[in-house]
């Protein structure tokens, strides 16, 4: 057998065909990596677990009853559903029940204006006191659309998912760029396809992976909420989850291009950290902002328009109901425009740095070519 037997009917790939081939390899290689599969499964389980835990704690908190002993007339108290009442013959008997731990507190006749006294073991039973207190009626003039504790968790959720996915796949794409440089295979690749097609394929491949993971998590979250009977929460959260997915898709392309261009500047895996740190900051700052300033309107509004934090900020504002209908669209336009600019500069840096192995390439040199 000779080489003459091999076939030679080749035709030039288009840019798109080359990019698809590269993207296809990125996806296949990643899906084969055990580390990737395991980390995805863990992230998914964490989301499901938090929803299930939320449903369990939510249920136990609302159904918790307080056992009390009552001396005297208990008719008025039986209407309070969260009280489990034990009738006691005398104050002494009630005290014994409290001391034995059979009940958490006892309600006995008292001398004060309320006419009752509460006996408890070592601390005042706050919940019971509140139940028995008369509170004035409150009318809120500007009620918050969402429960604030929940809003914090939702913001944290968006923040964590975006942060995790961006760092996970950002690091992945950086490693894959440096792998090609450090193994020198990049020179063969560049003799076959253009550097831009290579970059496009990498960004597309990793975006598909990241996006797939996010859709999976979003789907798990929605199914989880429905199955555990928290549909009400879903109604509030649904639109913001959908917007989150949309913003994530665009925002991730932006980050992926940044990670790839930054990584192209170095030739060894151990140097990745030094060049991707600034990009990592762009991912971390929005995360910390949402953790510390989730209830600050001004911060959230700014966040929802800055391209790097919009994927967290805008869905959060949609959830809180503080965004007008056109705001996500405008923010999306800003993020798209930024992505185009970054991809243009990024691909230039990428193309000019790929063959420079050894010392770290300076950004300005890479832009000049």
């Amino acid at each position: 057998m000779t080489i003459a037997d091999t076939r030679a009917n080749t035709r030039a790939n288009t840019f798109a065909q080359s990019a698809v081939l590269v993207a296809d390899r990125e996806v296949r290689m990643r899906l084969r990596s055990k580390a990737f599969i395991i980390s995805s499964v863990i992230l998914l389980l964490a989301v499901i677990a938090s929803i299930v835990a939320g449903s369990i704690f939510g249920a136990s908190a609302s159904s918790a009853t307080t056992r009390v002993a009552v001396v005297g007339d208990s008719a008025a108290l039986t209407q309070i559903s969260s009280l489990e009442i034990t009738e006691a013959g005398s104050v002494d008997e009630a005290e014994t029940l409290v001391r034995a731990g059979d009940v958490e507190a006892a309600i006995v006749p008292g001398d004060g204006p309320t006419g009752i006294r509460i006996l408890a073991l070592d601390k005042a039973p706050g919940e019971l006191v509140q139940l028995l207190s008369a509170s004035p009626e409150v009318t809120l003039l500007e009620p918050a659309a969402q429960n604030s504790g929940l809003a914090y968790l939702v913001g944290l959720g968006f923040g964590i998912v975006f942060f995790m996915a961006a760092t996970l796949f950002g690091t992945t794409i950086a490693q894959s760029v440096v792998e090609e440089k450090s193994t020198r295979v990049v020179e063969i690749l560049m003799s076959a396809i253009s550097a831009r097609a290579l970059l496009a394929g990498k960004v597309i491949g990793n975006t598909i992976l990241a996006f797939g993971q996010i859709v999976l998590i979003a789907a798990a979250a929605i199914v989880g909420l429905v199955v555990t009977g928290q549909d009400a929460l879903l109604g509030d959260l649904g639109p913001s989850i959908v917007w989150f997915v949309v913003f994530f898709a665009v925002g991730f392309v932006l980050l992926a291009a940044l990670f790839a261009s930054a990584a192209a500047l170095v030739s060894r895996q151990e140097d990745i950290g030094s060049v991707t740190t600034p990009v990592m900051m762009l991912v971390m700052i929005p995360y910390f902002l949402i953790v510390f300033a989730w209830d600050n309107d001004l911060v959230l509004t700014i966040m929802s328009y800055v391209p790097f934090s919009a994927p967290i900020g805008m869905p959060m504002r949609i959830y809180l109901g503080t965004a007008e209908w056109w705001e996500p669209l405008l923010s999306l336009l800003i993020i798209l425009a930024t992505t185009v600019v970054v991809v243009l500069f990024g691909s230039k840096i990428y193309a000019n740095s790929l063959l420079r192995t050894g010392a770290r390439v300076k950004v300005l040199d890479a832009l000049r070519g």
Binding site: T2, I3, D5, N9, N13, R184, I188, A192, S194
Partner: protein, 294 residues
């Protein structure tokens, strides 16, 4: 025919290539020799288009090369490299497809090549698990898997054991036999001398010699002769028109002003006694190279 025409490349104020021109004929194995930093790798990268020249042009069959033509090139970079964690066959199919080969042909080519290079049973092993020699074979397969019409190989024999050199050589001859121009660089001048049809010598970014191997030898021929006789050969020094370069008992290496002076030495030697050998001395490529690059 692949023509490199007036290619110049500068890095800052350093001129890496200075108006480099030479040609690689169809079906000719052309050796590209030069010291470290002479400009071999830069030239090859410019031919492949992974590096752009400041001026000058590379032509194939008379027309300037564009990006679309370069996918017909097979390239083995000096810096070896394949995806370490990818399987050999899978990787070759991928590289062939990047060059525009259909999936079916890419798979058929891969199978053929792996068999030819005696790598068939390692096709599903990752590249990093191969021995160094087998990695080199895989690298050569990567340069050939898309049935290239031109081959550019940077130091293809470095790191190969003698058996592998023969295998690779067979493959290169096959490719050349189909009419492909084959350019390869090497430090091993003895290998180049044995294998090549043509030789190009580069030093300090300038082409010092290029042409057929025979031509190179003829151009740099010297009138040197070696004589081996049974008795002492000291008398050679007294011969007219002759300068002795080396002398040891019955052996003498001398340079003659013309053929007549050399024949005179032979006649005298025969008169003196039996002559074991008398021959013009061919200089090795190494010697010529040293002189040419000076």
């Amino acid at each position: 025919m692949l023509q490199i025409d007036g290619v110049t490349k500068r890095y800052g104020d350093r001129t890496a290539l200075d108006a480099v021109s030479f040609a690689v004929g169809d079906g000719r194995l052309t050796g590209f020799v030069g010291g470290n930093g002479a400009g071999k790798t830069t030239t090859m990268r410019i031919i492949l288009g992974v590096l752009s020249a400041d001026s000058g042009v590379v032509r194939l069959g008379g027309s300037a090369l564009g990006p679309d033509d370069r996918r017909r090139f097979g390239y083995m970079p000096e810096e070896r490299g394949l995806y370490a964690k990818m399987k050999v066959a899978e990787q070759l199919v991928y590289l062939a497809r990047l060059h525009g080969v259909s999936r079916r042909d890419a798979e058929a080519n891969t199978t053929d090549l792996l068999e030819r290079l005696e790598l068939a049973e390692r096709r599903d092993d990752t590249v990093e698990s191969l021995s160094l020699g087998n990695q080199q074979r895989a690298q050569i397969a990567a340069a050939l898997v898309h049935s290239p019409e031109v081959l550019i190989l940077d130091e293809p024999f470095s790191g190969l054991d003698p058996m592998a050199v023969e295998t690779v050589l067979g493959v290169l001859h096959d490719v050349a036999k189909q009419g492909a121009p084959v350019l390869f660089s090497s430090h091993q001048l003895d290998v180049v001398e044995r294998l090549c049809d043509d030789v190009v010598v580069i030093a300090n970014g300038q082409i010092r010699a290029s042409g057929s191997k025979q031509q190179l030898h003829d151009d740099n021929a010297v009138r040197q002769f070696e004589l081996l006789v049974a008795s002492d050969a000291a008398w050679v020094r007294e011969m007219p028109g002759v300068a002795v370069l080396d002398f040891d008992g019955g052996y003498a290496l001398f340079e003659a002003d013309d053929d007549e002076a050399a024949q005179g030495v032979l006649r005298r030697a025969l008169q003196q006694g039996p002559v074991a050998s008398f021959a013009p001395r061919h200089r090795s490529l190494t010697e010529i190279f040293k002189e040419v690059v000076k």
